[in-house]
């Protein structure tokens, strides 16, 4: 892993409202921290509850770390966040979890193909859906920045 701190600079007027939208999602605990229901069909029945709790616990930790890093005056006012190399992986996982939550809870009306291609007709979305898709895209940008930092040689 790249051993430098990563400084992220994003336009504050854009990220401010999206941050306020994402923080409550990121601070969910227990079962609600679970971004999706893991497929445990082949797992022994007496092992499933612990397995599921492990996934939810890790997901909760990652999303809490995300909230701690971005819930700062500096990020809110200037769009600047600074984080350590060891935060990169939790941030990536948290961003993935939050995107999955947005997909299932807020963006269910959108077709998979439209989401995958990024072909979104904003004019057809209501206010909440616009916030959700903007947050969804912001998280993707964050993931791309962190991935380039972790793995600069990887081809796109």
């Amino acid at each position: 892993m790249e051993n430098k701190r990563l400084e992220l600079k994003l336009p504050a007027p854009v990220v401010g409202p999206l941050l306020e939208y994402l923080l409550p999602l990121a601070r969910e605990t227990g079962d609600t921290a679970l971004a999706y229901e893991p497929n445990l069909d082949a797992i022994e029945e007496d092992f499933r509850a612990d397995w599921r709790a492990d996934i939810a616990g890790q997901s909760q930790d990652d999303q809490m770390r995300f909230a701690a890093i971005f819930d700062t005056d500096e990020f809110r006012n200037e769009g600047v966040a600074d984080f350590a190399p060891e935060d990169c992986e939790p941030l990536l996982r948290a961003a993935a979890a939050l995107r999955l939550k947005l997909r299932t809870r807020k963006l269910g009306a959108l077709a998979d193909s439209a989401l995958e291609a990024g072909e979104i007709d904003f004019a057809r979305l209501n206010k909440d859906e616009r916030l959700a898709i903007s947050a969804y895209m912001l998280l993707a940008s964050l993931q791309e920045i962190v991935i380039r930092h972790l793995d600069p040689g990887s081809a796109e």
């Binding site: 082949a42 996934i55 993931q143 990887s154």
Partner: protein
């Protein structure tokens, strides 16, 4: 290929007794999802499974185009560890027994 050990932080999930091991291998299967970025999936395959860039991209494209890819096969406990680690990375992973005929 050397395969990195799964790094998931295990909290409570510990197997009380070893299940009987079939002779045919268990498969770790990753399914397509419309949410995770291709570059993210490649990174996860490299980190969790120890894949090279080329192998990670091959499996990512298989997931994307065919809907699923078998990313590892072998003994059950290790397959479970890989599947759980991939799930903590928010990938749609599961284990299957190879005799299931899928």
């Amino acid at each position: 290929m050397s395969v990195a050990a799964p790094k998931t932080k295990k909290r409570t999930a510990t197997r009380k007794k070893a299940a009987p091991q079939p002779t045919s291998p268990w498969l770790v299967v990753v399914h397509n999802d419309p949410v995770n970025l291709m570059s993210y999936v490649v990174l996860v395959f490299k980190k969790v499974l120890g894949f090279t860039e080329a192998k990670a991209r091959k499996h990512m494209m298989e997931v994307h185009k065919k809907g699923r890819s078998v990313v590892w096969s072998g003994e059950r406990e290790r397959a479970e560890a890989y599947a759980q680690t991939l799930q903590t990375w928010q990938l749609s992973a599961q284990i299957e027994h190879s005799s299931d005929g899928k």
